[in-house]
Structure formats: structure tokens, C-alpha cells
Amino acid sequence: MNNNVIIIGGGPCGLEASAQLHQMGYNVILVEREPQLGGHLAKWDRLFPEGIKAKEVLDQLIANINGVKYFLNTEVKSINQLDKEYNVILSNGITILATAVLMASGFDLFPAEKKEEYGYGIYDKVITNADLENYFNTGKDRRITAAPKRIGFVHCVGSRDEKAGNRYCSKVCCATAVKQACEAKEAFPDAEVFCFYMDLRMFGRGYEDLYLRAQKEYGVRFIRGRVSEVAEDINSQLIVKAEDTLSGKPIKVTLDLLVLMAGMTNCQAGVKVANMLSLKKDDDGFFTCKDSILHLQQSDKKGIFYAGACTGPKTLPDTLHEARAAAIAIHNYFKERK
């Protein structure tokens, strides 16, 4: 039995699991289809709740994998279960025999253009949470030309939405929206900022404080109700119709920028690999764990493990916890097989 572990996905989850398994003495091979490591984290600016720079976190995670073999711009071409191992052929022509495979394939952002009524890709001033984060990171976005005076955030875009096919909560969007609303006020102090929410799920430590700070210090206005439609007026300003369920009235707001909080869906590149192994998925499209309490990192196939957002939406700390838990689960798997 070799001590090869192949990790699919070079985001924060794959990086943390690689570092842990490498320290335990396993031969880790990390496969990433993008030209750089870091996944979505590499494109993010700051992290809730304290606003820690994403780059600092990512730099540390990358520093920790010192000695791990990794392949960029590389995909899994085929993966077959042998007697005691998995035969993995990569797109760069390399073949690996691995005793364990960790799926750390993460998530895709819900394609916001699917919520056609919000006008992403139709109206120039409608952007996503990822677009805004990229703007904070680089200071560049052709759609944000002048300082917007009125900015709106729409929570739950593609989450908790039967029409979009996603009944589940994406877990991170509320906190991200509140964080970004505060940052928008910092970037554009004269702007009025509105958050359209169903209910705020500020479940983590420090999240509720962030929500209170957004109201008290930043003056962000929270409107409980869903946006029904977005249109553009003759001055290219956005006309947003919504319902204020607390006052029981329909409202119409004119905005200069609308940010859609696109939720999480299972990463399609990860699903492609999982399909090669006939791994199970739940109704929500995320991979099925062996059970939902004691064996969250195990799949229904021996030697295949899961960590991070491929089994459902997770915050970054939750993802890193799962990466470590998966490393232990893989270590135990090797021990059992000796």
C-alpha cells in the first residue's frame, strides 16, 4: 500500500488538508484546475467579521504547504477504483496511484443571471458580491465609474429560493452582505446603503456585533423583504421594486448600484470528477456524506473523502475545520488498512 493522497481542489480547504497530511508524513498530490492556488479566497478582499485581509490568510495557507507537490492548470481526466487504490490520470499526462482521494472541490457561485428579474448582465449597474469584492481588491470595475449615491444589496440570490432550484441557505451571504455594506459606506461615505433581506442569519461569533455596527455606525438601512424586479430608467439609474414586510407596503427605490449576494452551489468541475466515481449527491446538488453526524468527511466509497463546501455551504473557518477533520479521517483510514 502506497501512502499517496490526492487532493482535488487547491482552495483554502485543499491547502489546509494538504498541509496537515504532509505534516503527518503522507505523500500529498494537490490538483488545481485554475492557474493559481486559493480558489475564491484569491479573489476576495476582506473577510467577515473583523475584516481580516483575505490575502494574509491565503499567503499563510500557501506557506504551510511547503513541500507538497501541486499541479496547476490541471484537471482529473479519469479516476478508476482498483483493488486497494485509485488510478488517477491527470490532464498533464501524469498518472497517480492513490490510496485516498480527498474531494476539496469547493463551490461555484450561483450564476446571478439566472434570476432574470434582477437584471444581472442586462443592466450595467447590477453586480454580484464577487464583483464588488474584486472592486474592493483592485479598485477597478468599469461599472462603478462615479461614486454611487445609493447602493442596494439583495440577500439570498439563488438561495432559499425554490424557483431557482435551491431551497437551502448559503450560510455566508448575510454576513458577507453586512460586511460589504459597511465597506461600501467606507468607500463611498456619502452613499445611502440598503440591504434587502428575508431574515438575517448572523449565527457566528461576532456576526451579530457586525450587524449592530452596520446599523449604528454605518447607518445601513435594513429592509425586510424580497426584491421583485429591477429595471432601468431613462438616466440609467436602477429602479428596484421590493416589499417592506415590516411596514406591509410595496416600495420602489432608485439606486446607482445594486449588489446581488449570489449563493453557493456545488462546484461543477468537482461534480464531473465525482461522476467518474458514481458518488452520490443529495437533492441540493452537494455530495452525500456517509452520515450527517459522525462521518461527515467520509463518502459511501472507501478511500474517498470530503471536506469543505462540496458537501454544503460553509464559512471559511468551518471549511478549514473540515480540512483538518478530513486529514485525521484519512490518517485513521491508512491506520485501519495496515
Binding site: 443571471e113 432574470e116 448582465g121 442586462i122 429595471a231 431613462i234
Partner: protein, 355 residues
């Protein structure tokens, strides 16, 4: 506005429509309000496009207005619909095309409900036999009549005598397209272009030389909305809906409005008169209203039909300013002459007619 974004959505909502051989059913409302539109549709499809469109005098209402007003239960409406489909089958047709948007929505809803609940379909089959002794059948293809004109819009453009272009300036006419709510809002995949940015009328406007206006209340109801108008005490809602649309489109200075629903052209046309009487406000140039058309009327104008043969004299808002813009000749003395020169009578002139 990013035009390519709309094109992407339009490409996602296309449907294959059979080329020929349709069982055509008229609309209760349109036969009263705009009877020439349906006649024009049949004339264009039969005599200009040389297609087989059959209609039967045995066709009745689909029951849509009564159903949406809660006057009849769903099973009654379904049995009426099953009878229409049975007539189609009896006359040897498989493709069903209806003139009315309410009917199109209800037919779609019924077919989808039968697909979802086969036991209900079986019950309706029995009721159809008990009440009419007709053989149950479902259409192979269901289309709205505007789908047909959309499909053949480029062929119509090839035969066009006039375009949606201001003859004096050479500029495209600025056109508001208003889609009936029941066309795609309930079942987005059943309409060309989907529910949010429908293409069925926009495609005709583009093909015939006009420019589509995208204004904030584009998706808003015309004001009919069944109970808003049918319940007399609610009619203020009907009027305020229409008012909201006109206030929203006004800055774009539209030359005309095209619709594909029975209620929409009626309410967008008639309420302009009421608004002008109540507030002294008109939305077109020089005290005129904005003329409102059915898509068949516009297709007829493009193909060179006589405006009075298209029934444009029964519109509340006068159409002459638009005819002048397009360079379409017309004889004012024949405006109120019916078939065989019969005098149709003249309306009292509303402020927004100005002729």
C-alpha cells in the same frame, strides 16, 4: 442596458413551432373589440404566407374570464377546454393556435396540470364524453397567434410595403411592446424570450425596422387584471395601473404601442381618454395620445393593408399621426364607412384624439 445580455436570455427561451396546419380559435374579447385583427391574422397566414389555418364555428369561449373571476370551477374550465381540443382532433388537426392570451395561459396551465395529475386528466376525459360525446385529445403543439407572426416576421418584412420608420426623418419609430401577463409570466419556457424580457413582440419590431423602448414599468400590468376591472368598485386600480405605465414610458417619447393580449390594447387605448378627461394630460405629441395596436394590425400596416380595413377607426386614440409618420396613405372620408359604404357613426371627439 446590455443588449447582448438580453440576446443571451432570448436564446435560452426559443421554441420550435410547426410551419403549417393549425386549428385556429378566436378570442371572445377580441371579436368584440378588435374583430379585424383576427380576420387580418387569417388573411396574412392564408393568403400572404399560404399556410393552412382552419377554424370551426363550433368553437366557444375557453372559460378563462369566468375561471379567473372565480365564476366557474377549474374542472368546468378544463372540460370546456377538452371540448375545444376534441374539435381540433375531429377536424384532423394536431397544432392548436389561439388568438387570446388568457386562453393561451389557461390552455398551458391545463395541459401542465394534466401532465402533473393524470387522474384529473382521466376525470375530464370522462366528463367530456358524458357531456359532449366527443373523443378526448390533446394538441401536439400549442401556440399563441403572436408566436406565428413572430415565426414569420422576416417573411412579412420581405413583403413589407411600409416599415416602422419615420418617413420624414428616416429614424426608426420608438415602440413600446406590451406583453399579456398570461403569455409567459406563469410558464416562462412557453413564451419566446421568457417572462422577464419577452422577445415575441420585440422580434417583430426589430424585423420591421422599429426600435424597442425598455422603460421601468415595462413588465407592469396594463390595468385589466380581471378583478381590477370586472369588479366595478376596483376600477380605480385598473386606471391607476395604466396611469403608472404611461407616466413611466412618457420620457422615452414612444411613437406607438404594440400588444399581444385582448385586454391590453383595449385598456391602454381607452384609459388614455379617461386620463385626458380627468387630468387633461395626453402622452403623445401635440395633445395626441399614443396609438395602441395589436400585432396583427401592425403586421397589416407593414404589409400595406388599408388602415380602415384593419379596423383602426374603432381605436379610441386616433392613429392618423402614426400613419403619417410611416407614410401610409389613407382616405379620411372612408374612416367611418363600413363594408358596402355603411355609415358606422362617429364618436364624440375626445381630447386625446384631436382629429
Amino acid at each position: 442596458m446590455i443588449y447582448e445580455g438580453k440576446q443571451k436570455i432570448w436564446s435560452d427561451y426559443q421554441k420550435d413551432i410547426p410551419d403549417d396546419h393549425y386549428f385556429y380559435v378566436r378570442s371572445c374579447i377580441r371579436q368584440s373589440f378588435f374583430p379585424a385583427s383576427e380576420q387580418t391574422f387569417l388573411d396574412i397566414t392564408r393568403n400572404r404566407l399560404h399556410k393552412d389555418f382552419f377554424e370551426s364555428e363550433h368553437h366557444t369561449t375557453c372559460g378563462g374570464i369566468a375561471y379567473h373571476s372565480d365564476a366557474i370551477p377549474q374542472e368546468t374550465a378544463m372540460t370546456i377546454i377538452a371540448r375545444q381540443f376534441a374539435l381540433m382532433h375531429k377536424y384532423g388537426y394536431e397544432n392548436y393556435v389561439c388568438s387570446c392570451i388568457t386562453s393561451f395561459g389557461l390552455y398551458t396551465e391545463t395541459l401542465e396540470t394534466w401532465r402533473e395529475f393524470p387522474e384529473l386528466e382521466a376525470r375530464i376525459k370522462e366528463k367530456l364524453w358524458e357531456s359532449c360525446k366527443l373523443e378526448f385529445a390533446k394538441p401536439k403543439y400549442l401556440a399563441h397567434a403572436s408566436d406565428i407572426i413572430y415565426k414569420f416576421r422576416n417573411q412579412i418584412a420581405q413583403q413589407a410595403k411600409f416599415k416602422l420608420i419615420n418617413k420624414k426623418t428616416g429614424e426608426p419609430l420608438r415602440v413600446v411592446e406590451h406583453i399579456g401577463c398570461h403569455y409567459a409570466k406563469m410558464f416562462p419556457s412557453k413564451g419566446f424570450g421568457g417572462a422577464e424580457y419577452p422577445y415575441v413582440l420585440a422580434g417583430m419590431i426589430e424585423a420591421w425596422g422599429g426600435e424597442v423602448i425598455d422603460y421601468p414599468e415595462r413588465r407592469h400590468c396594463c390595468g385589466f387584471g380581471f378583478r381590477q376591472y370586472l369588479v366595478q368598485s376596483n376600477r380605480g386600480y385598473s386606471l391607476s395601473n395604466t396611469h403608472k405605465k404611461f407616466e413611466s414610458m412618457e420620457p422615452y417619447k414612444p411613437d406607438m404601442i404594440i400588444t399581444n393580449c385582448p385586454g391590453c390594447p383595449y385598456f391602454l387605448d381607452r384609459w388614455q381618454y379617461v386620463i385626458s378627461e380627468m387630468e387633461g394630460k395626453t402622452y403623445g405629441k401635440d395633445g395626441h395620445g399614443i396609438p395602441v395596436f395589436t400585432y396583427e394590425e401592425v403586421a397589416g400596416l407593414v404589409l400595406g393593408y388599408d388602415p380602415w380595413d384593419l379596423g383602426l377607426q374603432v381605436h379610441q386614440v386616433s392613429v392618423e399621426p402614426l400613419l403619417d409618420k410611416m407614410g401610409i396613405p389613407y382616405d379620411p372620408s372612408k374612416k367611418y364607412k363600413g363594408i358596402n359604404g355603411k355609415d358606422l357613426g362617429r364618436p364624440e371627439l375626445p381630447t386625446c384624439a384631436c382629429l
